[in-house]
C-alpha cells in the first residue's frame, strides 16, 4: 500500500500540473468575475495539497503498518486478461456488429470461467445476446444494427 500511495500521489500531482498548465491558457478573469480557468486551477491546487498530505501521512505511518496489494497473482492476471478482452471487444463491436461480436465474446468468457460443454456455452451466449438485442433494439428503440455483419 505504501508504494501504491507514493505512485498515486505522483500520478495525481502530475494530473494537477497538467490541469494548471492548460487552465493558464484559458481567457482571464473579467472585472473580478472568474474566467473559465480559475475553478480548475483551485481544484488542481487542492489535488496537489491532498497528494502531498497522502505522501506525508504514508511516510509518517512508516513501513510497519504497510499492507501488500496483490497485483501479480494468478487471480489478478485473469482480471487483466478480461480487461484486454473487453478492450478488443469494444474496438471490434462497431466494425463487426453486435450479435456476432457479443455472442463470440460471451462464449469465450463463459467457456473460460465455467468449463461447461461447448454447446451449452454457445446456447447461453446466443440466447442472452438475442434477448439484449431485442430488448434494446425493438422495445427501447436503440439503434443496434451496425457493423459489417450484424
Amino acid at each position: 500500500m505504501r508504494k501504491a500511495n507514493f505512485i498515486v500521489s505522483g500520478v495525481f500531482t502530475a494530473f494537477a500540473l497538467l490541469i494548471i498548465a492548460l487552465s493558464l491558457t484559458f481567457p482571464p478573469s473579467n472585472h473580478g468575475v472568474p474566467g473559465p480557468g480559475i475553478f480548475p486551477f483551485i481544484i488542481a491546487a487542492l489535488i496537489i495539497i491532498s497528494a502531498v498530505a497522502l505522501l506525508i501521512t504514508t511516510l509518517i505511518a512508516g513501513p510497519k503498518l504497510d499492507s501488500k496489494i496483490d497485483l501479480r497473482s494468478k487471480n489478478i492476471i485473469n482480471v487483466y486478461i478480461t480487461m484486454a478482452g473487453l478492450v478488443v471487444y469494444t474496438v471490434l463491436l462497431p466494425m463487426v456488429g453486435f450479435i456476432t461480436t457479443t455472442t463470440v465474446m460471451l462464449y469465450l468468457y463463459i467457456r473460460w470461467f465455467s468449463k461447461r460443454s461447448w454447446w451449452k456455452c454457445a446456447v447461453i451466449s446466443l440466447l442472452f445476446t438475442l434477448a439484449i438485442y431485442f430488448l434494446f433494439g425493438l422495445v427501447l428503440n436503440v439503434p443496434m444494427r451496425f457493423g459489417l455483419v450484424l
Binding site: M1, A4, N5, V8, F12, F15, I19, L22, S23, F26, P27, S29, H31, G32, V33, P34, G35, P36, G37, I38, F39, P40, I43, A44, L46, I47, S50, A51, A53, L54, T57, I69, L71, N75, I76, N78, V79, T82, M83, L86, V87, Y89, T90, L93, P94, M105, L106, Y109, I110, F113, S114, I124, F128, T129, I132, L135, F136, L140, V142, P143
Partner: protein, 493 residues
Amino acid sequence: MLLEVLTNVFTVQIFFFIILGVFTGICIGALPGLTATMGVALVLPLTFGMEATPGILLLIGVYVGAIYGGSISAILLRTPGTPAAAATVLDGYEFSKRGESGRALGISTVSSFLGGLVSVTALWLISPQLAKLALRFSAPEFFLLAVFGLSIIASISGNSLAKGVLCGALGISISFIGIDSITGYARFTFHNINLLSGMSFIPVMIGLFAMSQAFSTIENIFTPDEVSQKVSKVWPTKADWKIILKTAPLSGVIGTIIGIVPGAGAEIGAFVSYSQAKRISRHPELFGTGITEGIAAPEGGNNGVTGGALIPMLTMGVPGDAVAAILIGALTVQGLQPGPLLFTEHTTLVYSIFLGMFIANLTMLVLGLSSLKLFVKVLSVPKSILTPMIFILCVVGSYAINTSFFDVGVMLFFGILGYFLQKADFSVSPAVLGLILGPMAEANFRRALLMSEGSYSIFFNSPIAWVFLILTIFTLAMPYVTAFLKKRRMQNA
C-alpha cells in the same frame, strides 16, 4: 393535486414497473458481488425511453429491493449480498446454523419494510419543508452547500481524508471537460468533437460502480459458488413481532437521518442501528448469537437510508448516497433538474415518487414473504455466467444513452480506473458525487461573484451561508478531532 397523483400512480403500467423493479432489485441484492448501486446503474439505461414517473419508480424499486435482498445471502450464506447487509450477517447466519433461516428471513423482510416505511414518511414530511427553505438559496448558498456536500463526502468515505478529497477532486476535474456554461469556452477538449458536450456522467457511473465491481468478481471467478440451504416458515413468531415493532421503526429513524447526510450510505445506517440497538438492549451480550434484534436493527436501518438519501437529492440536488447520484442522472436524462424548483414545477411527479416509494416498500414486503423460496433459488445462478452478462449490460447501457461508442470507451476506461482505485483503497463514490456537485459548485461560485462584481464578501453575507461554512469546517476537522480523542483515551487507559 392529490387526485392527479393518485391517477398518475394507480395505473397498471406504474405497478408493473414497481413490481419489476423490486423483483429485479431483490435478485440483484441477493447475489453476492452485485450491489444496489450496481443494480440501479445497470437498470438505468432501460429508463431512457420511458416517461419520468415509471422510469424513476423502476429505479427506486430496484434500490429498495436490492437493499433488502442483500440480507438473503447474508443470512443463508454468511456473505452479505450488498455491503448494506454486512451487519445482518452477525446474527442472521446464527439463525441459519440453528436451522431457522426461514424465521430470520421473515424478520429481515418485516424489519426492512418498517424501516422503509419510516423513511418514506420522513421523505414525505421533511422534503417539502426543506424545498421551501432551499427556494431562499441563491448562488452563494448553493456554492457553499455544494462545498459542504463535497467536504462531508470526502471525510466519511474510505479510510483516508486525503484519498477521499483526491477522488472527489478527480470527479470535479472530469466535470470541467466541455464547453464552459458561462463563457462558452471549450475546456480540456483537446479538439475532440466527442468531448465538446462534456463527459456524459452515466457511462462514468456505470464504469465506476458496475464494471469495476464485475472486474473484482473475476478475481474469485474460479472459486466454487456456495450452496444455500432450504427455507421454510418465513412468518415471524408472536415474540418476534413484538421485538420487530419495537426495534425496526427506531432503526428506520436512525437510517433516515444517516441517509440525509450526503455520502453516508446504507451500510453505515445498518451498523449504527445495530450498535444503537445493542447499546439500549437489556441483554447486549446476546448480540451476535442469533437474536431477533440483531436482524431487525440493521435491516430497519439500511432500508431507512433509502428514503433519507432522496431528501437532499430531491430538495437541493445534493445526492445522499451513490444511488441517489445515479437517480440525479436519471432525472437529468428526463430533462428534470433536482432541486427546490422540482417541487413547484413538477409537484405531481414529486408526490408520485413519494407514493410510488411507499408502494415499492409494500411490494417488497409481499414479495419477500410470499416468494422467498424463488429468491433463494437465484443464489444458485453461477457467477461464471452472470459476470460476462454484466459486461454486456454495461456496454449496451453506456452505448444506449447517446448511441455513441465513445461512451462505451469512457465506461471501460472508468471501469478499469475504478478497479485500480479500489485496489489502492480508494472509495469511488466521491468521484461520482464530485462529478455531480462540481458543476453546481463552479457555476454558483462564478454566478455569485458576478452578482457581487467580484467581491468575495458575498459568501459571508447570509446566515444560511454561515451555517454551511461552519458545517464544512466542522466536517473537515471531525476526522482529526476523533482521531485525537481516540488517541488520548487510549493513552489514559
